[in-house]
């Protein structure tokens, strides 16, 4: 992995990444330096906007909570824009937990059950569907969709826009009139926003409404400081280099823990089955590939679904112990510390049914979209290309694989049919190229190959 600790120094959007020195500071001090620089620019900088790129598990939410408290402390009215209600509720909960006295408004919709009842625990949190009811509160938090309907309020002196890379440019257009300055935080490697209708006619325009909000922002304000959180605290040393190389080739990051700092052990020994062997491989190396025989299958490949379920069951049965930097005592890898990731909803439904029939409950089973932003000890991933006769743009999308491969603190087991590399060879990446559209990510085809090549070293046949 490249030594890029000093990349946390402020870059301008157009400038090149400054090249690093050969000595790496300790990850904690690198991350702290980055956070200080971000807060300095946000609180006292001359720019109207500050952008923070945050790779998976780099402490984005921690940063948002801290920035919100410090901004509130200056007395500047603050609005926070998140993308989903779940994200809003999570942020409000964390903010109120961190600072119980802080007056926080949760602006919500007028539908039934518009917010998570967990917020009722916090006496300082005011909930309302009308922004006028929240006037004067230090911080008001809502979704971009709800903010877009706010009229006759504000402008707020300061905003924080969370998950800004998943926000579309037109959504920012609808809310940007509400604030004077803003801190934009997000992960450039996750799923891009998209539109179901053709938007090619605006491709290459700085304000292409279907592009990400950050792309538009930086195109119009190229001098804004762009920071990067340089350390993933979630991903272990075994995963950060691969995820960084495959999905963030031009903005690398590293893991907060070194090799061996995290360990996964099982109390129950291996029974010698392929499932146990792939678990052992994943426990020792961080990655495991359970490779089923090559076959073209429909999406809900019964054999692959059964294999995923079997891996989860054995993972629980073998009573995993996760050792890490957080505590000297190992933590039990219980069902709530495990997730299964799939590309499609029907696959998730099939895995849930298979787990239920094995009597396994409490494991999160969801699509990449819904696992975005979440964290687990061990993840089991049904490879998006497993058994497919074709490789569509959907399945090749870098963000999808990136989300699935970057949710874990300890280990990731991928279940896949053999033959995906050959499938990729037969399905070219003859992507169209639009003039003026900035290339941010590697090609999905290339990233898939990079991940497969790495997994091949950790393969166990079914």
């Amino acid at each position: 992995m490249t030594d890029t600790a000093t990349d946390t120094a402020t870059e301008t959007a157009t400038g090149a990444v400054p090249h690093a020195t050969t000595t790496e500071p300790h990850p904690a001090s690198a991350a702290a330096a980055a956070t200080e620089a971000i807060l300095r620019d946000t609180l006292a900088g001359a720019h109207r906007g500050v952008v923070v790129d945050s790779p998976p598990g780099a402490g984005k939410t921690t940063l948002v909570v801290r920035a919100a408290r410090e901004l509130a402390a200056t007395g500047r009215p603050l609005m926070i824009v998140a993308q989903t209600n779940a994200q809003v509720d999570d942020l409000v909960d964390r903010l109120a937990t961190a600072e119980p006295e802080l007056p926080v408004g949760r602006l919500h919709s007028s539908e039934a059950q518009p917010y998570d009842p967990v917020l009722d625990r916090h006496p300082s949190v005011v909930k309302s569907a009308k922004v006028a009811d929240l006037a004067g509160l230090d911080v008001v938090v809502s979704t971009a969709a709800k903010w877009a309907h706010v009229r006759g309020a504000g402008p707020w002196e300061q905003a924080i826009v969370d998950e800004a890379y998943q926000m579309r440019s037109d959504a920012l257009l609808a809310v940007a009139g509400l604030f004077e300055r803003a801190l934009f935080v997000g992960d450039p490697g996750q799923l891009d926003p998209f539109s179901q209708v053709a938007a090619e006619q605006w491709a290459g325009l700085s304000y292409d409404p279907s592009a990400s909000a950050v792309t538009t922002l930086l195109a119009h304000n190229p001098d804004l400081p762009v920071h990067r959180l340089p350390v993933s605290w979630r991903l272990p040393a075994s995963a950060a280099p691969l995820v960084s190389r495959a999905f963030y080739p031009y903005t690398p990051f590293r893991s907060g823990t070194g090799p061996g700092e995290r360990r996964l052990e099982f109390r129950a020994p291996s029974d010698g089955s392929s499932v146990d062997r792939v678990l052992d491989e994943a426990a020792s190396s961080g990655w495991g590939l359970l490779e089923l025989p090559a076959r073209h299958t429909p999406r809900t490949d019964p054999e692959a679904v059964a294999a995923v379920a079997a891996v989860v069951r054995r993972l629980l049965e073998r009573d995993g112990r996760a050792f890490g930097e957080r505590s000297p005592e190992p933590a039990s890898v219980t069902a709530d510390r495990i997730a299964v990731g799939t590309a499609h909803r029907d696959q998730a439904a099939a895995v849930r049914a298979a787990l239920a029939s094995l009597g396994v409950t409490g494991v999160a089973v969801d699509t990449a979209n819904r696992l975005q932003g979440r964290e687990f000890d061990v993840t089991v991933v049904l490879h998006p290309l497993s058994g497919r006769p074709d490789a569509t743009a959907f399945h090749l999308e870098t963000g999808r694989l990136c989300v699935l491969a970057s949710r874990h603190r300890h280990a990731c087991v991928v279940v896949c049919r053999a033959g995906v590399a050959e499938l990729l060879d037969e399905h070219p990446s003859a992507e169209p190229v639009r003039l003026g559209v900035e290339v941010r990510f590697p090609d999905g085809w290339e990233a898939n190959h990079a991940v497969l090549a790495h997994l091949a070293d950790h393969a166990v046949p079914w």
Binding site: L173, V197, W202, A349
Partner: protein
């Protein structure tokens, strides 16, 4: 591609004849559409070669540019095109109906009802394929900024008087064609492809002649073979017997037929121009006839119940453009500003969701696709339990249980919708699946305001109902700021005085 349409393609491949994808027609067809079949010059953007255009299938107007690189001849062609097309596009401006619309009063800021004009009909334009639609846009782009002699008396090459106006209309039609479900400007390959599946790929369906061969094949004949002949049969010079539907010409035609004729024309040989006209007509006429045959096929399908509803939106679009022209607004800019682009995208997303919902509601075969994909379920009502909401004024919230073989992707609390007679829809919430194949929905509206549901508003046991997980009338996005209030994140307000200049006329126009 849904599995049902894949299956239709497989069936078509097995039988050699196209198979239906719908049971009704999902696009509006005007009684008297104008068909435009354009041809362009290879390698030269914006240099038309000719066109067949008109509203009478037996009497198309043939327009030909005998030397496409000659600007004078090009302008003569465009002037003639304007002469034929503009009267059609302007024909529906006068007959209007009055409609009520809510508008924001600029003085009080309140929403008030105003009466506005809506054109009673809108002229329709039909081209053979999507490349034809792109070409309409290109013609619009290349002509709307031109200056006429009146606007620019000193110009050495003034544009014909009505040409910029034609450009603005074509631009409007070209933009409207990007709205899902719109019908002002249609490409017949697209419309045919929506209604029939062939036994070849969608890529090959772009060839109008081949696509038609699959659909027109009579029982007992092979559309596959007919399509192959249309696609591949060539004469001794290698010129295809069925010319491509344009706007690009076949290279062998260019090299073997057209180029020598143009050379004779350039040399001033007598009869050369007539020869070019005949050659161009020979390439256009088969496509012209094919477009009309395609329209016959489509007319034979009954229109979907909600097609007229979408056509009304096309009429609004037409009326709005008419009003902009009457208000003396400048031509559409080269590229949209930030707010306009975002508004268009939002409108198209709403239109797409609406189209998807309406097609399914209008057509059991389309609904079958949604049922197969878990987005809808249909079955017999096996149980109805009366129930009421809690609160001061209890409202009816009956529980309806349906038996179905469908496998909807439902989670507790998901909203579902059911179409009622008269175009309204009834909301419900999924409660539980009491047993495999049984789904219970709590009705949450559409039963009137009383404590007892209105008669007929709750389905009865034994009745067949179809619930969808998608909304029937999807809402649009939020209001966006006015362009003059574009925020700093999007570059601030556009310069109000920045008008697009006409393309410079350089000697390069004539190579």
């Amino acid at each position: 591609m849904s599995l049902i349409s894949t299956l239709a393609r497989v069936e078509a491949a097995a039988t050699g004849r196209a198979r239906p994808l719908t049971t009704v027609r999902h696009r509006h067809l005007a009684e008297r559409p104008m068909v435009l079949v354009p041809l362009t010059t290879a390698g030269e953007v914006g240099a038309p070669l000719g066109a067949l255009v008109g509203t009478d299938r037996d009497a198309p107007r043939l327009l030909v540019v005998p030397q496409p690189r000659d600007r004078t001849l090009r302008f003569a062609f465009l002037a003639e095109l304007a002469e034929v097309v503009l009267p059609h596009l302007e024909s529906a401006q006068g007959t209007v109906e009055l409609q009520e619309r809510a508008e924001t009063d600029p003085e009080t800021g309140k929403r008030v009802k105003v009466e506005v004009e809506l054109c009673a009909d809108a002229p329709q334009l039909i081209v053979p394929n999507t490349a034809g639609i792109s070409y309409v846009r290109l013609l619009g782009r290349s002509t709307r900024f031109r200056r006429t002699a009146e606007e620019e008396p000193d110009s050495p090459h003034p544009a014909p008087a009505r040409l910029p106006l034609l450009g603005r209309w074509l631009t409007h039609y070209g933009e409207r064609a990007r709205v899902p479900g719109s019908s002002l400007l249609l490409a017949v390959t697209e419309v045919l492809g929506r209604h029939w599946a062939t036994g070849q790929s969608r890529l090959e369906d772009q060839h109008l002649g081949a696509l038609l061969a699959w659909i027109e094949a009579e029982e007992g004949t092979s559309g596959a073979e007919a399509a192959l002949r249309v696609e591949l049969a060539r004469d001794g010079d290698g010129v295809p017997l069925t010319p491509p539907a344009g706007p690009a010409t076949d290279p062998a035609f260019d090299n073997r037929r057209l180029a020598p004729a143009i050379a004779r024309h350039d040399a001033g040989l007598p009869g050369a121009e007539e020869e070019i006209r005949e050659l161009v007509a020979s390439q256009l006429r088969p496509t012209w006839d094919a477009v009309w045959r395609a329209l016959d096929l489509l007319r034979a399908l009954p229109p979907g119940a909600r097609v007229a509803d979408r056509w009304k939106r096309d009429r609004w679009s037409y009326t709005a453009h008419r009003d902009r022209l009457r208000a003396g607004e400048p031509p559409q800019p080269r590229r949209d500003d930030a707010v306009t682009a975002a508004r268009k995208l939002a409108a198209r997303e709403t239109a797409l969701a609406e189209l998807a919902a309406q097609e399914a509601l209008d057509d059991p075969l389309v609904m079958a696709e949604r049922r197969l994909s878990g987005e809808a379920f249909a079955g017999e009502v096996v149980r109805v339990e009366p129930a009421w909401s809690e609160g001061k004024r209890p409202m009816p919230r009956p529980l309806v249980t349906v038996r179905t073989d469908d496998l909807p992707h439902l989670e507790e609390g998901d909203r579902v919708h059911r179409a009622l007679e008269g175009g309204k829809s009834q909301p419900g919430v999924f409660v539980a699946s009491p047993a495999p194949g049984l789904f219970t929905v709590r009705l949450t509206g559409g039963m009137g305001r009383g404590k007892v549901p209105e008669a007929g508003s709750v389905p009865e046991e034994g009745e067949t109902v179809c619930w969808t997980l998608f909304e029937h009338a999807p809402r649009g996005g939020p209001d966006l700021p006015d362009p003059e209030e574009t925020p700093w994140t999007h570059g601030g307000p556009p310069d109000p005085d920045a008008l697009d200049a006409p393309d410079p006329v350089t000697p390069e126009d004539l190579l």
